[in-house]
Amino acid sequence: MGLLSGYVIYSLSFLLIYIALATILHLQFSITGIVNFGLVGFWGLGMYLFALLQTKLALPFLPALILACALVGMTALLLGRVILNLDGQAILVGTLAFATIIEYLTTTEKWATNGVMGLGTIKMPFDFGRSTDQVFFLLILLCLVLLILYTAKLKTSPYGRLLLSIKDNEVLAQSLGKPTFRHKIIFFTFTCILIGFFGALSAPLYNYIFPRMIGPGVTFTIWIALMLGGRTRLLGGMIGIVATVGLFDYFIETVVPIPTQYAEMVPNFKFALYGLMLILILMFRPLGILGDKKKEGVK
């Protein structure tokens, strides 16, 4: 396993987490039409809650994970009740505000999170000596595969069709007797729990977590990736993440030799290029690299 050791496996684990987040965003946006600009809020909340439960209350891995997910779910339910029956742009602003509140709270509540000093050390759930990282990578891979299978199944299931009908014409779905608001809240809560779950899984990877890790940049990177890959397609998120985060954070920063005096400029070029790619994609190929497949979804 020489190739898959140390930094390589660490970067690949994060790539998988990002792919999972992009897939969940695809679930929220393409199936129910919810524009979640607060993705990083739920991710960061899951991450911080898990870390707090593990470091401050000394809970073992699984109880901490479950409790963190439950708390994220309760938060999502509360936020969903407040904003989900407003129109699209209010949901967007509301979720963005939520994520900002979470980021600020992790900075201000020093008694719990140590503020900008960072919270740690967060332990791995198991110890297999030198191959612990590889096993954890496989665990994340397994969760991602399950998520993708679920997403694929949902699109053709009756429940998926119901959610699609809410997205396409909520008033029509209501007139057929479907409690659309309730379904939206339940699905939003469920998908936010998934985001929090992957947040909790990120905590042991990071080892130490800081408020600046959960800035709005994460949300927008994943949105850009999803748009780039193809928001209507199951694998759009994966393709987009590989073409953005994979290319820059993994390939360019680890493989391409960059002189140290230019190293601090790399993120600037990266984000400027992300922006440019997003502009070009939305103007010239709005459905992303993968484009549209007629059979996909319910017409």
């Binding site: 904003i83 602003v93 900002t100 600037n268 400027a272």
Partner: protein, 287 residues
């Protein structure tokens, strides 16, 4: 601290805080009213307004007040360029509302990090020839802050009159309400749209340079303001200049009150965001 000094500090500091926000919110709400989407890239218009002023003031050595005019014109121009190159073609291609917002995020990233490549990660300060300290209701303020407030007041009243009392303003409102009807009435949509984007861009630029004159100019200046700007416009009522004015003053006063009570300035923002989410819910605004 007695109650009366607390109240007067809150009021004075709050209005100082609110002054640039008023300009930013007015420009934002104009674009929102005309084109009906949340233009996140507006944040970069705010930032670049401050950078343009820095170029004239710090790098070319102009007087601060003289550099306001070219900075406002250039940021208006930038706004028009983003409209012509990116947003207008996108409207014509029928890009959806949500996609437009995400597109504007892309524009924002491109401009922000592009300008960081040009200007570096450094912070910039303005050169003021003379700064004197004055007392207003017992609160220390600088003459520059007072002049900024005065200018903000003059400019907002100017924009208000332009939109509600002039022929062009009427055309602008007509176009925002019903584009087809406006076109049938002989209003040239391109000309009016260009004008709105120019005014919005200029007021964003002015907001940025005034905001920067209170502290410093960095590439994330506009980005740090944009969420509050969007919230102020949404809560104040889309297209409503009076609403933007009231909501901005409210933001300033709440922020300075919380700042006086707690050591961490982030609490002010947290309180505001929670109040705003609540207002979104109560008013059920159709943003």
């Amino acid at each position: 601290m007695t109650l009366s000094t607390f109240l007067s500090s809150t009021l004075v500091l709050g209005l100082l805080e609110a002054a640039p926000l008023v300009l930013a919110a007015i420009g934002f709400t104009l674009i929102y009213r005309l084109n009906g989407f949340t233009n996140v890239a507006y944040a970069e218009n705010i930032t670049l307004g401050a950078y343009f002023a820095v170029i004239f003031n710090s790098l070319l050595g102009w007087n601060f007040y003289a550099s306001i005019i070219p900075a406002a014109l250039l940021s208006g121009l930038l706004s028009v360029v983003t409209y012509l190159v990116i947003f207008r073609p996108s409207f014509r291609r029928g890009v959806g509302k949500t996609e437009l917002i995400i597109l504007s995020v892309g524009v924002s990233y491109f401009i922000r990090y592009g300008s960081r490549i040009l200007f570096g990660n450094d912070l910039f300060n303005f050169n003021f020839s003379s700064t004197s300290y004055l007392k207003v209701f017992g609160i220390g303020v600088t003459n520059i802050q007072l002049i900024c407030i005065g200018l903000v007041a003059v400019i907002s009243i100017g924009i208000y009159f332009f939109i509600y009392k002039t022929n062009y303003g009427e055309k602008m409102r007509a176009l925002a309400d019903n584009e087809e009807l406006a076109m049938i009435s002989g209003i040239n949509p391109t000309k009016v749209s260009l004008l709105i984007w120019f005014i919005a861009g200029s007021s964003a630029g002015l907001a940025g340079l005034f905001y920067g004159s209170f502290s410093f100019v960095s590439s994330s200046l506009g980005w740090n303001m944009i969420l509050i700007v969007i919230m102020v416009s949404v809560v104040g009522g889309v297209g409503s200049i009076r609403g933007a004015l009231v909501a901005s003053a409210f933001v300033g006063i709440v922020t300075s009150a919380v700042n006086l009570l707690s050591s961490n300035s982030l609490y002010g923002d947290i309180v505001l965001l929670i109040i705003f989410i609540g207002i979104l819910k109560v008013r059920k605004v159709r943003v």
